[in-house]
């Protein structure tokens, strides 16, 4: 049982400007589930990618059964018996299960012809082992997410793979599907396969894991046997000392601003992305929304701003029930969303700084026919001053700015619509420390003016220090509500990961 099949020794990975991994050791035991945990940015995915051959370590060695090996692509990693199932599914929906399993390593009849019969019989065998009772000629597009995950497993395991890396395999699965997956994992263990298991869900880890390795800030923090530890140990090791929020933000909040009742967003493959969520927001309040990936945080904000036409539920803003359903109407009602992905949804790449900033409020500067360039210019100048955006000229391309200043332009665009409720989805993603501080100074100032803010962030530190109150979502449901005084890293992590 104690046999080491893969050892990573002294792995360091440097990217320009940052060290993602600093002298990390990692052991993979045969026939066991080797769990890897850490916060966002702790280095889990970098280590995973190095083990899977997606990235190469800057320094450090990988030993296979005690012998040093080198590989620099997932293909070569497979030849050493290391397979990976990524968090995102990587299947081609318009091909069959068998065709997906053998993609890029098809079984050939001769130089030109694929041997479909052999592929399908081998695929059928693999599917039987994984208890997926489907013909291998089934199109992947007709499978549920859980079934697709099993096809990914079959694909990763095919051949002589005896080390399987699974990066958050359960994040998209239902409870029933997780059960099936765990049965498969137990079966794989029994056959001697070593599993590297990355997850944020502590109860799962305790249920299925054998060994645990904790990373924090790119460094190895601790290793243990799962049977010797509990959830509190994991949280403590992941986050360091349990710290209370610094200066408590205790200012008087205003009256009721927003009330959301029974908000639901159906998922087209069944179930709900946002499931019966109700909450209230007061004037001048910052409400944090915390949850794991896929918990429905972004969708919740999109429902409020009208970008999810299928959403149902009641929204009451300043005592008035919102009847509108389109984004343009919701903006007039007083909602405004700063999206998660600045490049994809926040900025128009072909526009100047000024054009980006006024995009959502053009009607304010438009007379009978045309946009008043004087009025538009004034609004832009005011906002640039107010948000202290560092620019050369407002007619320069938006790309002339740093990420932080681009984000401020997006904030300016939203503020120019005169929102009552500002929705911020990961407002500090991809911006530097100084710009983060600026961002939160702006947020605090806005709340002084009576604006309500709903903020999504995956950064625990931000969740502990910025909001007055935090709601925790788990698989679309509200699973916790904490006042600032009750907040700790452990409470947030537990509420977001428990069933």
């Amino acid at each position: 049982m104690e046999e080491l099949v893969l050892e990573a020794r002294g792995i360091t990975k440097r990217y320009p400007g940052t060290t993602a991994l600093d002298d990390v050791d990692f052991d993979v035991f045969k026939g066991a589930v080797n769990v890897l945990v850490g916060e966002n940015g702790a280095g889990k995915s970098t280590l995973t990618k190095i083990l899977a051959g997606v990235e190469e370590a800057t320094t450090g060695r990988i030993l296979r059964q005690g012998k040093p090996i080198r590989y620099s692509s997932p293909f070569e990693a497979r030849n050493h018996g290391v397979g990976i199932v990524f968090q995102e599914l990587n299947l081609v929906p318009n091909l069959s299960i068998a065709e997906n399993m053998f993609m890029a390593r098809e079984i050939m009849r001769n130089r030109f012809m694929i041997d479909h019969e052999r592929q399908e019989s081998e695929a059928a065998e693999a599917l039987r082992r994984l208890q997926l009772d489907l013909p291998p000629s089934t199109l992947v597009s007709s499978l549920g997410i859980g079934q697709q995950q099993i096809v990914e497993l079959a694909k990763a395991l095919h051949g002589d793979v005896d080390i399987l890396i699974m990066d958050e395999p359960t994040s998209a699965l239902s409870e029933q599907e997780v059960k099936v997956l765990f049965e498969i994992i137990v079966d794989l263990k029994a056959r001697g396969t070593a599993i590297v298991y990355i997850s944020h869900r502590f109860e799962e880890i305790l249920e299925i894991g054998d060994y645990i390795t904790v990373l924090r800030d790119g460094r190895l923090i601790s290793k243990a046997r799962i049977r010797d530890i509990d959830i509190h140990w994991i949280v403590r090791e992941m986050t360091g000392e349990e710290e209370k929020p610094p200066v408590p933000r205790r200012k008087s909040l205003g009256g009721a601003l927003l009330e959301v009742n029974h908000l639901r967003l159906p998922n087209f493959s069944g179930g709900y992305k946002v499931n019966d969520v109700s909450f209230k927001l007061r004037k001048g309040e910052i409400l944090g929304i915390y949850g794991l990936m896929g918990a429905g945080r972004t969708e919740l904000l999109e429902c409020l701003v009208g970008a999810q036409p299928d959403a149902t539920g009641q929204i009451v803003l300043e005592g008035r029930e919102i009847a509108s359903s389109r984004v343009d109407q919701r903006i007039i009602d007083g909602f405004s969303l700063i999206p998660e992905d600045r490049k994809q949804q926040g900025i128009v790449q072909t526009f100047t700084i000024a054009e980006n900033m006024t995009l959502a409020s053009l009607s304010r500067y438009t007379g009978r026919f045309s946009i008043s360039s004087a009025g538009e210019g004034r609004a832009v100048d005011d906002m640039i001053r107010e948000l202290a955006i560092k620019i050369g000229s407002k007619t320069h391309s938006i790309f002339s700015l740093s990420g932080g200043n681009q984000q401020k332009v997006v904030v300016g665009k939203n503020l120019l619509t005169n929102p009552r409720v500002l929705l911020m989805d990961e407002p500090t993603r991809g911006i530097d420390v100084g710009a983060k501080k600026d961002m939160f100074d702006i947020v605090r100032k806005l709340t002084d003016e009576g604006l309500g803010i709903i903020m999504v962030s995956s950064e625990l530190k931000e969740m502990l220090t910025i909001p007055d109150r935090v709601l925790v979502l788990n698989k679309g449901r509200l699973t916790g509500e904490f006042d600032r005084s009750e907040l700790s890293q452990a409470t947030l992590l537990l509420a977001s990961g428990s069933k």
């Binding site: 343009d328 903006i331 999206p339 128009v348 026919f369």
Partner: protein, 314 residues
């Protein structure tokens, strides 16, 4: 000077001037006023269509049905005058209305049903082309009233009427794109559809309006050409798609949307007109025309790719 070269239109403007100079030097007949008025008139028909195509390309779409919309509108206008004995003004209005209606059908299919613009307009273009043949049986519609022929054949202060309409439509469109919220929204939709939607722009509605305008302008081009020919020809517009897209592209309109201008398209259309005219003047076999135009387009899109690559690096 550096600012001039930073403009998208500078390349096509220099190209146009250069081409005109070479032709004027090599063949003095090119530069006489009669020939220039021919070039300008010929350019205006497809130029009108290219204006609408530019709007569509700016939103990141494409309209392959414009030529047949133009042809069908020309036939319908002709038949309204000959078959229904409508006065020319009413017949022209009906033809323009029909073009706008066809455009709306394209727009609804693309924005509401979410069918890809290429497929939608490829298919609807076939329907319009077939309709022309069904309605006319392949024969031209003759005996159009003399007053109608003024539109395509007359002049205003020495300027051919089609060029007058082309200029008026171009100016109106350039103003709308540069100075109205509608114009800004079109650029935003082509630049980043998701960001435009979250900014509260009604993307579906704007898209439909853009295809409406494309259909309207295509019909305008078709009706002017019908007037020019003094008859409703079933072949009108059959080969307009390629030159109108070409005019927009060599004028600096990006095929991925969000970038381009009316001025660029007008210059691009003139360049194409001068090129076709020059081929005749230089006694080059007209069989070469399409090869030369094809090469110009390849050159233009390569320049576009290089330009956007440079931008994404910076």
């Amino acid at each position: 000077m550096a600012r001039f070269f930073a403009l998208r239109e500078s390349g096509i403007l220099l190209g146009l001037i250069g081409l005109c100079l070479i032709l004027a030097l090599a063949r003095p007949a090119f530069a006489n006023s009669y020939n220039i008025s021919i070039v300008v008139r010929q350019t205006s028909f497809v130029g009108m269509v290219a204006l609408g195509q530019t709007l569509v390309l700016l939103t990141g779409g494409i309209d392959l049905s414009v030529g047949f919309i133009g042809g069908l509108a020309g036939i319908l206008t002709s038949l309204a005058m000959t078959g229904l004995s409508m006065p020319p003004a009413a017949a022209v209005a009906a033809g323009l209305g029909a073009g706008a209606f066809f455009g709306v059908l394209n727009g609804l299919m693309i924005s509401r049903v979410k069918v890809n613009p290429f497929i939608t307009t490829l298919a609807s273009g076939e329907i319009f082309a077939g309709s022309i043949l069904v309605i006319t049986g392949g024969y031209p519609v003759l005996n159009l009233p003399a007053s109608f022929q003024f539109l395509g054949q007359g002049t205003l202060a020495g300027v051919p009427m089609p060029a007058v309409f082309f200029a008026v439509c171009g100016l109106l469109l350039a103003y709308a794109l540069g100075n109205t919220a509608f114009g800004r929204n079109i650029y935003a939709i082509g630049g980043n559809r998701a960001a435009a939607r979250l900014a509260g722009i009604r993307v579906e509605r704007a898209t439909t309006v853009v295809y409406l305008l494309s259909g309207f302008l295509a019909a305008f081009g078709g009706i002017l050409f019908t007037s020019r020919m003094s008859s409703g020809q079933p072949t009108t517009g059959a080969n307009w798609v390629m030159p109108c897209i070409t005019a927009a592209i060599i004028g600096g309109t990006s095929l991925s949307g969000g970038e381009g201008s009316v001025l660029g398209t007008v210059l691009g259309a003139l360049f194409m007109g001068v090129l076709a005219n020059g081929i005749v003047h230089m006694d080059i076999s007209p069989y070469w025309e399409r090869i030369i135009i094809g090469l110009v387009v390849v050159l233009a899109v390569v320049i576009d790719v290089l330009r956007s690559r440079k931008r994404s690096r910076s």
